[in-house]
């Protein structure tokens, strides 16, 4: 089965991650056009979604963008949604599960305006580096 629907959702998620983490996640998906054949590959792919989103939240906490309570709640929520949906993806490669995880991660990160502003600032800083003189 094609990974195209997940890659569509992924575009929304990478906008909500700091540029380096966005690039890391994009690269992880770039390897596959179709659902990965082995459970190990599917697990790795899913864990990249978990690791990149949670690392973004942790970084926002470390830079005092998010309070400890906000970072804790977002981390537990990202953890939980991946746990709830991962089994069928890991074992049977049900692509809708991965799609839902990406969609829910977008929702979780989008809910906090301070976090979103912080990410947008980072993207603007990167874009300014590539602005033509």
């Amino acid at each position: 089965m094609s990974l195209a629907p997940v890659k569509e959702r992924l575009k929304e998620l990478i906008k909500l991650l700091p540029p380096d983490l966005a690039s890391r996640l994009y690269k992880a998906f770039e390897k596959y056009e179709y659902v990965p054949a082995t459970e190990k590959e599917r697990t790795d792919l899913m864990e990249e979604v978990v690791a990149c989103t949670i690392q973004a939240v942790t970084r926002a906490f470390r830079e005092s963008v998010l309070s400890e309570g906000e970072a804790t709640d977002m981390t537990v929520e990202l953890n939980d949604l991946a746990i709830d949906l991962a089994e069928e993806w890991y074992h049977y490669g049900v692509v809708e599960r991965l799609e839902k995880i990406v969609e829910d991660a977008v929702e979780t990160l989008n809910r906090n305006p301070k976090y979103v502003e912080w990410v947008v600032r980072q993207w603007e800083a990167v874009k300014s580096l590539f602005k033509p003189e």
Binding site: E47, I54, T58, R62, E68, T72, T75, V76, N79, I83
Partner: protein
């Protein structure tokens, strides 16, 4: 496996988090009494314990006791352990799974010496504060 054995695992875990988070572990201890009541209660218990661990790790990160890489490793360890055990705990009220999960988290936290030094220091500070107040 009995509720008392699960309680003992929780008590072990208590020493692996800073003292001010102990009240949350005590709350988890109370929730243990309702382990067989409903899956919602068990889900609350799992979420509460995850919250305690994430808070402890974020505080250790903020105090520079661990770095973001350490945090990431521990957090993924928590994710993997929770994935492995949570379905048995929540859906099937399996106490063995709960104990397995708690002991897995215990080992994961104990394995990081920088984190453990930081926790011990928190406990020593709290103990000194208690002594100071008691001697007044």
């Amino acid at each position: 496996m009995s509720i008392e054995e699960a309680r003992s695992e929780l008590r072990d875990l208590m020493e692996r988090v800073p003292p001010h988070l102990v009240s949350l572990i005590e709350l988890a201890d109370q929730l243990l009494n309702e382990f067989y009541v409903s899956s919602e209660k068990r889900k609350t218990l799992v979420t509460l314990i995850q919250t305690v661990i994430i808070r402890a790790l974020l505080e250790a990160l903020q105090s520079l006791a661990i770095d973001i890489r350490d945090f990431g490793q521990k957090q993924m360890g928590l994710y993997r352990a929770t994935f492995r055990y949570s379905s048995d705990i929540i859906k099937y009220a399996n106490l063995d799974a709960l104990c397995g999960w708690l002991s897995n988290i215990f080992v994961m936290l104990s394995n990081n010496s920088a984190y453990m030094r930081w926790v011990r220091k928190q406990w020593m500070i709290a103990e000194k504060a208690v002594k100071m107040i008691s001697s007044r």
